[in-house]
């Protein structure tokens, strides 16, 4: 949660599947590093999965969104569908040519590849929709 309305990097939400494989953990590491670098802020996918209203509504309302799934099983994507949140800025790590395995010794080059793909995905992602029309963004 941001205590300041217009904190730097506050407008892009980063969500990772953080699953139990190399690609799941790559999604987590990339989300952490992108947050540290000020690109955006990692948020809790589990809160959306639990359908807690603050998390679900925040994912609907945020202007910039990057959702990183490790593999084509698509757990993060399924969570969005279940919670009724339109999926934007979606990235699957195995689509980048990184093979899924159970080796948790992450490769630095692969982390960088995921981070670059996340940045690119965010730049081409449409902004969050506002069905009601009139609401204005906090930092607009």
């Amino acid at each position: 949660m941001s205590s300041e309305c217009c904190a730097q990097g506050s407008s892009t939400m980063i969500l990772s599947c953080s699953g139990g494989s190399n690609v799941g953990q790559l999604s987590n590491r990339a989300a952490v590093e992108l947050t540290r670098e000020g690109f955006g802020r990692m948020f809790c996918l589990a809160g959306i999965g639990g359908e807690l209203s603050g998390f679900v509504q925040s994912a609907k309302d945020v202007s910039g969104l990057v959702v990183i799934d490790g593999c084509s099983v698509g757990c993060a994507k399924a969570i969005f569908e279940k919670a009724g949140v339109p999926l934007r800025g979606y990235l699957v790590i195995t689509d980048l040519g990184i093979e899924k395995n159970k080796n948790f010794d992450l490769v630095e080059e692969e982390i960088e590849r995921v981070k670059n793909a996340a940045r690119e995905t965010a730049s081409t992602s449409p902004a969050g929709t506002d069905p009601s029309g009139g609401a204005s963004s906090c930092c607009a």
Binding site: M1, S2, S3, E4, C5, C6, S10, S11, M13, R41, F43, C44, G47, L52, S53, G54, F55, V56, Q57, S58, A59, D61, V62, S63, D130, S132, G133, G134, A135, S136, S137, C138, C139
Partner: protein, 79 residues
């Protein structure tokens, strides 16, 4: 009805408080409006950005100032 406005006191948060108060006044609903400004208390609602509005325990908006019509709709849904 319980309405909470979440925000540390930025301009948009104050604007949200005003919009909520106007919507409540226009609908005439019996509502208690509470301003929540403590970051630790705001964090309990799991929102990504302020301002936020919570109606009867459910977060209705995060990181945006609602319109009066939006707030009226939330009030109507909760009644």
């Amino acid at each position: 009805m319980d309405i909470k406005v979440l925000g540390p006191g930025c301009a948009k948060c104050k604007q949200t408080e005003k919009v909520v108060a106007e919507a409540v006044a226009e609908t005439g609903v019996d509502a208690h409006i509470e301003k929540v400004g403590n970051p630790l208390d705001i964090a309990k609602f799991g929102i990504f950005a302020t301002p936020g509005v919570v109606v009867d325990g459910k977060v209705k908006i995060s990181g945006k100032v609602p319109t009066i019509d939006q707030v009226k709709t939330w009030i109507s849904e909760a009644n």
